[in-house]
Symmetry: C2
Subunit: 351 residues, 2 copies
């Protein structure tokens, strides 16, 4: 018998499968490209021209004093639910949403996105499904998917699982950066509906639903028209980019729209608190919006305290806008025009 030889393949990394994976991606990715993407064949870098036409039929843009706004995030253990349900085409939307929603809170229009996918062994079909979701999210967020890394990491992930990280760069003129400093007493807080849990608190959800509730991803739920647990838990994170860009065009950054908070881990209080200037606080009526039934369902299964719910989940509010009082009705009308359900949550007070 011949002596064993170590190869990259028999140590778990098959470069020929990797090449197959890489063949499928360019077509998916190209659909997200905007005129400012510079194609560079064969390189590892994504090139993006800051000046140039924003879209094929859009105006050219040239910045005077550009500020780059960059964000990174993952999807958390929502991925474990995608894996259990073998449904991989939406976590990519979540991945993009988590970063572009943070960028837009500064008033920055997303330019491009890069993804990092780590899996224990190469799987071209799985990768294609994940990247399709990322590309869908990128289109929705107006970000070109100009780069990414697929890391094959044997022995680091459980069979059939993977992890995702995303990275977004946006841009705004310096004068249009929203940093909360324009927020004033009596400004109105408008909450925009979330699409369920988005991508936070999934370790708590999994404990409540699977461990304590004894349910599986395939369990049909009579209280939700027999949708399955996976249907409820995998609803993708809303992408608020177009909504916010429309508002900023109409009501101007800092003048009309004075603050924007993406409600993620930490809930409404913590995420809104981050953008408020010293000396001001948010007076919120917790009965001003209807908490969606899915949150109550998880709360019941896990016997979770109300405070803990508000500390971990968005409770139905995915984005909060801090708005000049005179604009309340116009902003709400614009939101409804964008099919964004919304509520006045309260206002800014001293304290």
């Amino acid at each position: 018998m011949a002596e064993e030889k170590a190869t990259y393949k028999n140590s778990g990394v098959d470069l020929s499968i990797y090449a197959t994976s890489m063949e499928k991606l360019p077509g998916i990715v190209a659909k997200t490209f905007t005129p400012r993407v510079m194609r560079l064949d064969g390189g590892f870098a994504g090139l993006f021209s800051l000046n140039g036409k924003i879209s094929e039929d859009g105006p050219a843009k040239k910045y005077t004093d550009p500020v780059l706004v960059s964000c990174t995030d993952g999807v958390g253990t929502k991925i474990k639910i995608a894996c259990a349900a073998n449904r991989h085409d939406t976590v990519g939307i979540d991945l993009v949403a988590m970063s572009v929603n943070d960028a837009i809170c500064c008033g920055a229009a997303p330019l491009f996105f890069l993804d990092y996918v780590a899996m224990p062994k190469d799987n071209p079909t799985l990768l294609e499904r994940i990247v399709s979701g990322i590309a869908e999210g990128c289109k929705s967020g107006g970000a070109a998917l100009i780069g990414g890394e697929t890391a094959i990491l044997p022995d680091m992930y459980n069979e059939g699982e993977y992890d995702l990280a995303g990275f977004c760069v946006g841009v705004a003129e310096r004068s249009e950066i929203i940093d909360g400093k324009a927020i004033r007493e009596n400004d109105i807080l408008i909450g925009v509906a979330s699409n369920g849990f988005h991508s936070n608190g999934y370790s708590l959800i999994r404990k409540a639903v699977f461990e304590m509730g004894g349910l599986s991803v395939a369990t049909p739920l009579p209280e939700f028209e027999n949708k399955t647990v996976a249907d409820i838990l995998l609803r993708p994170t809303s992408i608020y980019v177009r909504t916010v860009l429309t508002l900023l065009e109409k009501f101007k950054a800092n003048d009309g729209i004075r603050g924007i908070a993406h409600i993620t881990g930490g809930g409404l209080a913590e995420n809104l608190g981050r953008i408020l200037p010293n000396g001001l606080t948010a007076q919120i009526d917790e009965n001003s919006w209807p908490v969606p039934p899915a949150f109550r369902w998880v709360q019941r299964l896990g016997n979770i305290d109300e405070d803990e719910m508000h500390r971990v989940f968005n409770m139905g509010i995915g984005l909060v806008l801090v708005v000049k009082p005179e604009l309340e009705l116009q902003v709400r009308e614009t939101l409804l025009g964008q099919k964004r359900e919304n509520w006045v949550l309260g206002k800014i007070v001293r304290g």
Copy 2:
């Protein structure tokens, strides 16, 4: 006995430990800041002014037609060796190196970096060590560490392990982007020394050294002056940013320095191939540089074919410069001035 209540904490995510982690990081991160970083307290976004002073005592920069160059990468299963050796202060250098070295190959000066750290439970001490390495890499690569995400993902990683992803954005004027199109017949290939395995091929290394060789990270190696296996395998990836920026300042992009390849997975042939225009090929003499003993040691332990070695590892060459023939000596002299050992590997020929 009271009925069990699910909390974020008892589902594996302790926000108070998380807060402790987050307290230590700003001090480490601030050391990487350049004058163009805009501080935004409390937000999730990193803000970077494209125009402005490059360094405290440097000139102001304003771009005419800026191209953003972005790269992402991880460290692969080199992390498993860091974990086995409980030595976490160098994988961050690797993380930065993998991305900034790709950016600089396009002629782009790194501007900023963001990191994604995923771990099964929060560990402020471990996180601090990892981020210290990332900050060290950023300083060496001239990139401000302006953002990051620490994801606590119970049940997704093995106890004591973690994963890292990094994202870098650099910039160059459009006319200074190096895309290989300036490469001509007879251009000289200069190879710059690597610092060992860098961050590629670690699944193969682990099979050879641990599985077939039966060694552990702590095994002292007489052939390497009794350095341990971890000492040899955790040498951090070289960061070539300053070296390349010095060369570009002196010899100009595309005129003198016509192509740059970062030698990563795929080895010399594949990575150099990526940047060559159609009709040209690299004629390389494989005896033109000394393969470092560490590569031969891994090869021996794993009984790895010579071809496989060259297909997976950098074999001692971390960066290849494609240079105008007349500049060979000057470029090599400049490299030596930067303490970069280098060799003429061959030249560009038709084919």
